[in-house]
């Protein structure tokens, strides 16, 4: 039954498969830490995947593809910032419409390039390190975007918790008025990190179409991952490392679903392809449940539960989704 199940291969596939999702999750974590919900993720990823694929095919340069995808992600995010931060429109409405619109835009503009040959960011083992036993294969035998995603996790943590810019960003997300009282411009910070987060989301699109799920077609394999990234941000309690771990967990579920397919040939393959999505959302539901009044009351009575819920529950940035009132 367990034919062809190799732990190392699975671990390596998880690290590689999660790369785009890690980028998107980190991008959205930054954005939400500044208090803005960018709900347009799902469409943005598809659009930037298309842009990256087309540009890389035409120019023959992978770098150009990645650059353009980041620019596309930043542009869509700039729209979200413009409409929600400057015009005070509902972040949910704007993000949702943009997510549908950008996806259709991707399929419309990209249709003539569908199923054409394009460049692929191939495997580039790290010299020396890839020769290490176990870790070499799991961590150091990947393509450049995968390394990038791993570095980004560490960088995002360092940026958020160890730099003065990261501190300012967290301040705005927690309390815009207090940030303003300390000489920080909350609107500016929100716009900057919405756009920066959008650029990371854009990069994740390129990581899909040029690396993890190479190529472009309809439907692109990356559809739906934007919603997963949004759920992962909550699941990861707005902490970059925890959110990234969530992305690896999701990638693990996806890899396992392929194995399950061979173990349960009677169940149609499509079910396993879809299964990780609801599973993830329900994990999220459980982690939200911890916040509920009943759960808190219950935890008050059982000290052991209290410790557990404290560990799981992490409140969202206090100004998340709110617009700043001006007089």
């Amino acid at each position: 039954m367990m034919d062809g199940f190799d732990m190392l291969l699975v671990a390596s596939a998880v690290i590689a498969g999660a790369a785009p999702l890690v980028m998107a999750t980190l991008g959205e974590t930054l954005t939400e830490r500044a208090g803005v919900v960018n709900l347009s993720l799902d469409g943005t990823i598809v659009l930037s995947a298309m842009a990256a694929f087309v540009v890389a095919s035409l120019s023959g340069s992978l770098l150009a593809g990645f650059a353009v995808s980041a620019a596309v992600g930043a542009c869509v995010a700039a729209l979200v910032a413009l409409f929600s931060v400057r015009l005070g429109m509902s972040q949910v409405a704007v993000g949702f419409v943009l997510t549908l619109m950008t996806r259709d835009l991707a399929y419309f503009l990209g249709s003539q390039y569908a199923r054409t040959e394009g460049p692929i960011s191939g495997s580039a083992p790290v010299p020396v390190l890839s020769g290490m036993p176990v870790l070499g294969q799991v961590l150091f035998n990947h393509s450049v975007p995968v390394y990038l995603s791993m570095i980004m996790v560490a960088f995002a943590w360092w940026y958020l918790y160890r730099t003065s810019w990261g501190l300012r960003l967290r301040c705005v997300g927690e309390n815009m008025e207090a940030a303003y009282a300390r000489g920080i411009d909350p609107d500016l910070v929100r716009v900057v990190y919405t756009v920066a987060g959008g650029a990371l989301v854009g990069l994740s699109g390129a990581a899909f179409s040029l690396c993890t799920k190479p190529g472009w077609g309809q439907p692109q394999g990356c559809e739906g991952s934007g919603w997963i990234a949004l759920a992962l941000v909550i699941f990861g309690a707005w902490h970059p490392v925890r959110a990234a771990l969530g992305a690896y967990l999701f990638a693990f579920l996806q890899v396992m679903s392929i194995h399950f397919q061979s173990w349960f040939p009677d169940v149609p393959a499509q079910v396993f392809q879809v299964a990780p999505f609801p599973l993830m959302i329900f994990l999220l539901a459980v982690s939200t449940l911890v916040h509920s009044e009943e759960a808190k009351m219950l935890a008050e009575r059982h000290p052991l539960l209290r410790i557990l819920t404290r560990g799981l529950a992490q409140a969202p940035p206090l100004s998340l989704g709110k617009a700043r009132s001006r007089d």
Binding site: R162, S164, L167, A179, A181, R182, G183, D327
Partner: protein, 485 residues
């Protein structure tokens, strides 16, 4: 650093929060700003700290004219403010809160800030652990942290808005000795307070504000009577109520504790009988808001029991209280009391709860009746958000049930002129004569004395006084409110 404020005005629409205030703040001095709720103290201080922009007037810092556009500009002149509700970042750690807003390198040396914080704490007698999230600190500790942060950033003028609200007496002693030390070191300290005691213990100089203007000033040693006169002084209003024979028990709170508001509610045991009008006095947010919500079934007590008409209602929801004849009216009219987007007639229609299909004509004529009898300047089809504050208030009063057991009213006459207040109370008095108990909060001592059969004085979440109006007066109540029983 000497700061002179000349003829400061701040208008919000028709409301003049500051109406021509002159004030001089000198170095090495603790300057008290005293006044009732709504006297304009907080507005004035927010202008000085750059948080709010003035409508007109001049601010001179060491004879140089300044016009602060934002708090950062005021900070660069060495002016820092500690807000009443600490403006900090609760989920972040003490150290991060200390660092935020200070000058620092791109990737700052945290140990440097840690050392600086530890040094300041030692000097001031504070005990703060740099890695604790601020959400776990008490209000007093958050204040200490803010103070330390302002000092580290080199502020020479410190404004403290109601710093002793919600902190322990021990923390107050620590704070005051720190402030004295700073003042003797040449800093300018401004203490904004309602509390006479605080001002008298700490301040060298006091300016009293009333209704947006300076109503007087004094230097140490202070005469309590003179200060109270400046704060509350006015001709006493004739009592409206003749007093009724109290009827059966309407409300009984038994050792109730509850969370909420600024201070929560602690050890509250009160009986209110039908026919009684009970006024809740105290600084805004001293527990009156929580008291009313517990009695209405909107907030569940953490300890103690709530009885309505001798029936134990502890833990029941508002709907259960409603069927027992309890009605609650919140102070935040548009936020909690009325439904923006719905018209006056539609509000009436919700209350009728008759057939499934709406008879809008019938609701409109009912609305018209209410509008007329409560003198609301509106039409049945007007959306409630288009009404002025006073009219919204009257509309809410018109929604009260005709034959209640217990009416709980939060600032029921706020925003009404004196005539309307009298008119409203004649109505409520009639309801009380019919056998309803009325419990209301108000920031107007005159109003409370005018209409109540009994006054409960709240201080820091506790009832510290339970008196009849004929046994007290405005000055005594003013003292009690300020924490001097």
């Amino acid at each position: 650093m000497t700061i002179a404020l000349r003829s400061i005005h701040k208008h919000y629409g028709d409301i003049r929060a500051n109406d021509g205030i002159d004030l001089v703040l000198r170095p090495s001095t603790v300057h008290g700003i005293l006044g009732e709720n709504g006297a304009g103290k907080s507005t004035l201080m927010k202008i000085l700290s750059g948080y709010v922009r003035k409508t007109s007037g001049t601010i001179l810092v060491d004879s140089e004219e300044v016009d602060f556009k934002n708090p950062a500009e005021a900070a660069s002149h060495g002016i820092g403010m500690l807000y009443q509700d600490p403006l900090d970042f609760p989920p972040l750690t003490v150290l991060e809160n200390f660092m935020a807003g200070q000058r620092m390198k791109a990737w700052p040396d945290r140990s440097l800030f840690r050392k600086r914080l530890a040094g300041l704490c030692r000097e001031m007698g504070f005990d703060l652990d740099p890695e604790t999230p601020v959400v776990r600190l008490t209000v007093g500790e958050r204040q200490q942290l803010e103070l330390a942060r302002h000092l580290a950033a080199g502020r020479r003028v410190l404004i403290l808005d109601e710093p002793t609200t919600g902190i322990s007496s021990l923390q107050k002693d620590v704070l005051f000795s720190a402030l004295r030390r700073l003042s003797s070191g040449g800093a300018t300290v401004v203490l904004v307070s309602h509390k006479l005691e605080d001002v008298e213990t700490l301040c060298d100089e006091v300016t009293v504000l009333k209704k947006g203007r300076v109503s007087g000033s004094a230097v140490r040693p202070f005469s309590t009577g003179a200060l109270l006169e400046m704060m509350f002084g006015r001709e006493p209003a004739p009592p409206l109520r003749k007093g009724h024979e109290p009827g059966a028990q309407a409300l009984f709170l038994e050792g109730v504790h509850a969370h909420g508001g600024r201070t929560g509610l602690a050890q509250c045991t009160v009986k209110v009988n039908r026919g009684e009008v009970v006024g809740l006095a105290g600084l805004e947010g001293s527990g009156q808001d929580v008291f009313l919500r517990v009695a209405a079934g909107l907030t569940r007590p953490t300890r103690g029991r709530v009885h309505v008409s001798r029936k134990d209602m502890t833990g029941r929801d508002h709907h259960a209280f409603k069927t027992m004849g309890v009605a609650f009216q919140p102070a935040a009219r548009l936020e909690e009391g009325l439904i923006a987007g719905l018209s006056v007639a539609e509000h009436c229609a919700i209350l009728e709860r008759s057939s499934f299909s709406l008879d809008l004509d019938a609701s409109a004529s009912l609305a018209q009746e209410r509008i007329q009898s409560f003198q609301v300047a509106a039409r049945p089809e007007s959306p409630v958000e288009s009404l002025s504050g006073g009219n919204q208030q009257r509309l809410l009063l018109s929604f009260l049930p005709d034959d209640p057991v217990l009416l709980l009213l939060e600032n029921p006459t706020r925003g009404l002129d004196r005539e309307s207040v009298r008119w409203v109370w004649e109505r409520l008095d009639a309801i009380a004569s019919n056998g309803a108990a009325i419990v209301f909060s108000s920031s107007e001592i005159d109003e409370i004395l005018m209409v109540s059969d009994r006054v409960l004085v709240f201080f820091e979440g506790r009832i510290i006084h339970d008196v009849r109006p004929e046994d007290t007066d405005a000055l005594m109540l003013g003292k009690a409110i300020a924490g001097r029983v």
